[in-house]
């Protein structure tokens, strides 16, 4: 079920009524029931994948917990058994992920039979969250959850199950039973969710039309429109994804549950690394905690490290292991996005730039010193902003183009055959958007940028709104609600007057 449907609104309303009407100790049961209903709506069959992941990780957690307790009790470390448990669990779940999401693509390369499995909703999100829990149990950082239903709620929690944020058990699960129930939270939750809805319904859905049109028939357009297509895709992607996360966080907050932040104004990133700390944050931190650190401190990496220090002089030798681990992480992030070659390249592209910037950090800093560039000056900051945007922008050709080679071709033609005349000959109005729609997108983007600009400077906009008078607050209820209701009302297909009259 999508957040942006009337059914979801109805489900949420019912959930809130039960949640607040029933005693506090029943809260988590309501959330579990709603989560399962929400998930089952998309297809009853795929819920077995979710139950499988929940079951195996729940059991692994219990086993690891027992080993940890015995370690403590008997002073005898069962490292091998624990490793075996965690490896088996990880392998099992990633095998499912691979089979469902990547097998058909890989099978195509090696002409093996395809499985054509239906992709369960949110598979990579809940798999990552569950695996994170198992590893935390392995590390002894997390004591295992004994109640299987409470654990199932963590895996299937409806605001997060479709598109994240990828939650940590330790952060999320305790809130199921100890959430602060307050009108303040419900209000903030609704405000956040409305903001997300506006981003998605007003801006993302319109921007998508342009991106889809350009990438569906690239042969119809010159390079300038490829760039415009990518730009609208960037707008769409951010407004869609961050809008969805806002709705998720807002919805969770109406139940008093605070989800981890997933976006932190990525437009203001000053480097690619900074960008990945602001974009899809929970994926980045997951990778950091469960891939980057273990990899950096692993035995093979230790060997590489020693080798590098010995053979590469200076600072570079020291950072080579970090660089290598970084590269692997970004390659994995690329693969996480999808199975086709273009995503692998997207991972390589990010990995290569990140690795290069780690390796060249020293060179940059000495160059800046030589050029006497003020480290804290606005020009350098601006240059970094633009540079980061350009890098991300180019990367988006690869995630949006239909195939890897098409991405290269389109990127090339952006510069070699821009066909600038198309910008003024009305081509823009052939995508299915009117001039009014473009104005709406522009206004929407301007509002979002303004809001994020002030937030970036530390303003708390919703807190400021709280201090306004009742009328102002009412306006900020009425306008978003009116827009959302109108969108919901007009979402259906009209009876096309042109099609009524046929052969009469």
């Amino acid at each position: 079920m999508s957040f942006f449907t009337l059914q979801f609104a109805a489900l949420l309303a019912a959930a809130l009524i039960f949640y607040y009407a029933l005693p506090k100790k029943c809260g988590w049961v309501v959330l579990l029931a709603v989560s399962l209903a929400f998930y089952a709506w998309g297809g009853v069959k795929t819920i077995f994948y979710l139950l499988f992941t929940a079951g195996t990780t729940y059991a692994s957690g219990l086993i690891l917990g027992r080993f940890n307790r015995r370690d403590a009790d008997e002073g005898k470390v069962r490292a091998a058994r624990k490793k075996l448990t965690v490896a088996a669990c990880v392998l099992l779940n990633f095998s499912v992920l691979f089979a469902v999401k990547y097998w058909d693509q890989a099978a195509g390369l090696f002409s093996l039979p395809r499985l054509s499995l239906v992709l369960p909703l949110g598979l990579s999100f809940y798999t990552f969250a569950s695996i994170g829990y198992v590893i935390d149990c392995y590390r002894g950082k997390q004591s295992p959850e004994k109640n299987p239903l409470k654990y199932l709620l963590f895996v299937s929690f409806f605001p997060t199950v479709v598109q994240g944020p990828i939650s940590r058990f330790g952060q999320l699960a305790p809130q199921f039973t100890a959430a602060e129930r307050s009108a303040d939270n419900v209000k903030r939750g609704l405000q956040t969710a409305m903001w997300g809805c506006l981003k998605k319904l007003i801006v993302a859905n319109r921007a998508a039309v342009v991106a889809d049109a350009v990438f569906a028939n690239p042969e119809n357009y010159g390079g300038a429109f490829y760039a415009i297509g990518v730009l609208f895709y960037c707008i769409q992607l951010y407004c869609d994804f961050s809008g969805g996360i806002d709705v998720a966080r807002g919805v969770a907050l109406t139940f008093g549950i605070d989800l981890t932040e997933n976006f932190k104004r990525p437009i203001f990133a000053v480097s690619l690394a900074d960008y990945w700390r602001r974009w899809h944050i929970t994926l980045g931190t997951w990778m950091r905690d469960y891939v980057f650190y273990p990899l950096s401190f692993s035995r093979p990496m230790g060997a590489i490290s020693r080798f590098a220090r010995k053979h590469v002089k200076g600072k570079a030798g020291k950072v080579i292991p970090t660089a290598a681990a970084t590269f692997v992480v970004y390659l994995l992030i690329g693969i996480w996005h999808g199975s086709s070659l273009k995503y692998i390249f997207f991972g390589l592209y990010n990995g290569a730039i990140m690795t290069a910037s780690v390796l060249l950090a020293g060179v940059y800093s000495s160059t800046r010193n030589k050029l006497k560039i003020n480290e804290k000056g606005a020009p350098l900051h601006f240059f970094r902003l633009v540079r980061t945007m350009a890098i991300v922008f180019v990367g988006r050709y690869f995630t949006r183009a239909p195939r890897l080679l098409a991405a290269f071709a389109m990127l090339g033609r952006t510069f070699t055959h821009p066909c600038l005349y198309q910008l003024t000959d009305g081509t823009a109005l052939t995508f299915g958007l009117t001039a009014f729609d473009f104005a709406v997108i522009a206004a929407g983007v301007a509002v979002i940028l303004a809001v994020e600009f002030f937030e970036e400077r530390g303003a708390k906009i919703l807190d400021a709104l709280d201090r306004k008078g009742a009328l102002v607050q009412f306006v900020f209820i009425l306008i978003p609600l009116a827009i959302i209701t109108a969108q919901a009302a007009f979402g259906g297909d009209a009876i096309d007057a042109s099609s009524i009259y046929r052969q009469f």
Partner: protein
């Protein structure tokens, strides 16, 4: 310390939920009520009935009549085939004001409800009930969907349920109407197929469509259906119910003092074959038990697809023939025997009629196009010498051609008048003085009719308008009058001021009768209408014959000209062997011409127009 809040979160939530509920509950009905795409609430905001009729004619037409009852005193009731009965002609014959209340579908039960409503509510002077065999096939369909629901005053449905359904219809339908309204233009489109004034289909485009040669007609996508007409068998299950409904309508009409005309509409022959002869006979005999009626089901027109615009609907020209037969108007052509009058109590049986041979109602008329004629000297693609012209006329005469005027063709297509054995139309574009000084005497000598297309702004001029730049001289209005008085020459229209020249006229230059680049449609329509009107005031009715300047025009120009009163047009290209069809005035539109240059020999001319 925490700042004092002006609005507590609890209150905020109350406001939020009240707003949400009110928006959800009120937004849809208020919007639907205002925009009213189905005309259920009287369409007070837009009054765009041609759109509302299209979405649901059964409903919207009744709503429309509630507001415009005083404009009408007579009605047509029937299915979509009734649209071909020309309201203007009917008004003239009966001295009445008709509204065509026809709708989609052929359910006699709904005809009866509609007729009952109209008779009781308005006590009209006349009621035309237009039937077809299909009305005995589908007697009633109980439809409650938005596009087929009848008005509750007609159907007797609970008004509450009815209005609730339209109040809470998807607002997307209302939004669609707003969007169409914003982007709406001059030409008729599939979302506004009705003429608001008459209630009939808006045939402004259909009636301006050039139709001539049958093969060419069938090659168009819209008429492909006639090449491979779908086969089917329909049984008439409801003859009894349908006829009883007619009897009740008749009784009601007698009560209200309304004159009732019962008609059976023209049917394409292959469509008629859907019904067995026995079923046909049963229907017509049963109908004759209850009423007198006119039966136009099968006429010679039923065999020619050019009289039909789709597989089941005849053109307005056929409706015109029906009325002419009914009211004894012999000035209107119709292929005989055209229909039959059936008296109550007789047993007419199934209709019988043979097709007419095509040559009895079509003629091939070549058209020749000259421009300038000079004494002697230099010639080019648009200039011929006197000697050449004379040789052409001689050759036409010797080959047995008889030059005719556009009025001869008009009389042929409209009144069924005869044409000579080998008709030909001689035309001249631009209205040069040479036409008067050189061509006219030769034409007189031969007694040949010809048409000269004058450019309004250039009449009597030898300089380009407002510039003083010398151009080939043009004859004056007096000279035009003199030629006209000879009874041979028609001075027709080449447009008043639609020959713009790059460099002499302001940019962007208008190409022929097309819109200027970036010109607003409303401006263009009024410009072209005014241009045609100027020609009418200059030349009188002869301006109803137009030669398209530079051959540049489009469908929109054609429709605008027709609306302005233009009845015939020629182009600068196309097949010069024009097929004109009796009963089809459209065959005078976009006629092709054989363009004669300075070096065209008499032999070339004759072989070009004698195929």
């Amino acid at each position: 310390m925490k700042e004092r809040k002006k609005l507590s979160s609890a209150r905020w939530l109350v406001i939020f939920f009240v707003t949400l509920v009110l928006l959800a509950a009120l937004f849809v009905p208020v919007f639907n009520l205002a925009v009213d795409p189905y005309g259920a609430f009287g369409d007070r905001l837009f009054g765009w009935w041609s759109y509302d009729f299209t979405l649901n004619p059964r409903l919207a037409k009744i709503s429309y009549l509630k507001q415009n009852a005083d404009k009408y005193d007579s009605f047509i009731v029937g299915s979509s085939g009734s649209s071909s009965i020309p309201v203007a002609d009917l008004n003239e014959y009966l001295g009445a004001n008709f509204f065509n209340c026809m709708f989609y579908g052929t359910e006699t039960a709904t005809f009866e409800q509609t007729a009952n409503y109209l008779l009781t509510t308005y006590r009209p002077k006349n009621l035309v009930l237009n039937l077809s065999l299909m009305t005995a096939h589908t007697y009633s369909v109980d439809e409650k969907d938005l596009t087929n629901s009848a008005h509750p005053d007609v159907s007797g449905e609970s008004a509450f349920a009815f209005y609730l359904r339209y109040l809470f219809a998807s607002p997307a339908d209302s939004l669609a109407k707003v969007k169409y309204r914003i982007s709406d233009g001059y030409l008729q489109t599939p979302y506004k197929v009705f003429n608001q004034q008459t209630g009939a289909y808006d045939k402004s485009r259909r009636d301006a469509e050039p139709i001539g040669d049958l093969g060419d007609y069938l090659s168009r996508d819209a008429y492909a259906v006639f090449k491979d007409y779908p086969k089917a068998n329909y049984s008439l299950y409801h003859v009894r119910e349908a006829v009883e409904a007619v009897a009740r309508i008749k009784a009601k009409a007698e009560q209200t003092g309304t004159r009732l005309f019962v008609l059976c509409q023209p049917t394409y022959k292959e469509n008629l074959d859907y019904f067995s002869k026995d079923d046909q006979a049963a229907f017509f005999n049963a109908l004759a038990e209850v009423t007198d009626y006119w039966d136009f089901t099968l006429t010679p027109a039923s065999y020619d697809p050019r009289y039909f615009y789709d597989s089941t609907h005849s053109r307005g020209v056929v409706g015109k023939m029906e009325l002419a037969v009914m009211f004894g108007d012999d000035s209107v052509y119709r292929p005989e025997p055209f229909g039959r009058y059936v008296e109550q109590g007789s047993a007419p049986g199934a209709p019988e009629c043979d097709p007419l041979p095509e040559e009895e109602y079509t003629a091939t008329v070549p058209i020749i196009c000259y421009h300038q004629i000079v004494k002697d000297g230099e010639t080019n693609a648009s200039t011929a010498t006197e000697a050449t012209f004379e040789s052409h006329m001689k050759a036409l005469s010797e080959s047995g051609f008889t030059p005719v005027s556009i009025y001869d063709l008009k009389a042929y297509v409209e009144n069924g008048a005869d044409l000579p054995e080998k008709p030909v139309l001689i035309t001249f574009d631009d209205g040069y003085l040479g036409n008067y000084e050189i061509a006219f005497p030769i034409l007189k000598e031969y007694g040949f009719k010809a048409t000269i297309f004058a450019i309004g702004v250039s009449v009597g001029k030898d300089t380009y308008k407002d510039t003083g730049k010398a151009i080939t001289p043009h004859f004056t209005l007096e000279q035009a009058e003199e030629m006209k008085n000879s009874g041979l020459i028609t001075v027709a229209s080449h447009g008043y001021d639609v020959h713009e020249v790059e460099g002499l006229d302001a940019e962007p230059v208008r190409e022929g009768m097309l819109a200027r680049r970036g010109e607003k449609e409303a401006d263009y329509v009024s410009f072209l209408t005014a241009d045609a009107q100027k020609m009418f005031s200059l030349l009188g009715e002869d301006a109803g014959f137009v030669s398209y300047p530079s051959g540049k025009y489009d469908e929109r120009a054609r429709v605008i000209l027709r609306e302005a009163g233009v009845f015939a047009t020629v182009t600068t290209s196309g097949d010069p062997m024009n097929k004109v069809v009796r009963g089809l005035p459209q065959s005078l539109y976009d006629m092709g011409r054989f363009v004669v240059g300075g070096d065209t020999t008499a032999e070339e001319l004759i072989s070009g127009i004698e195929r």
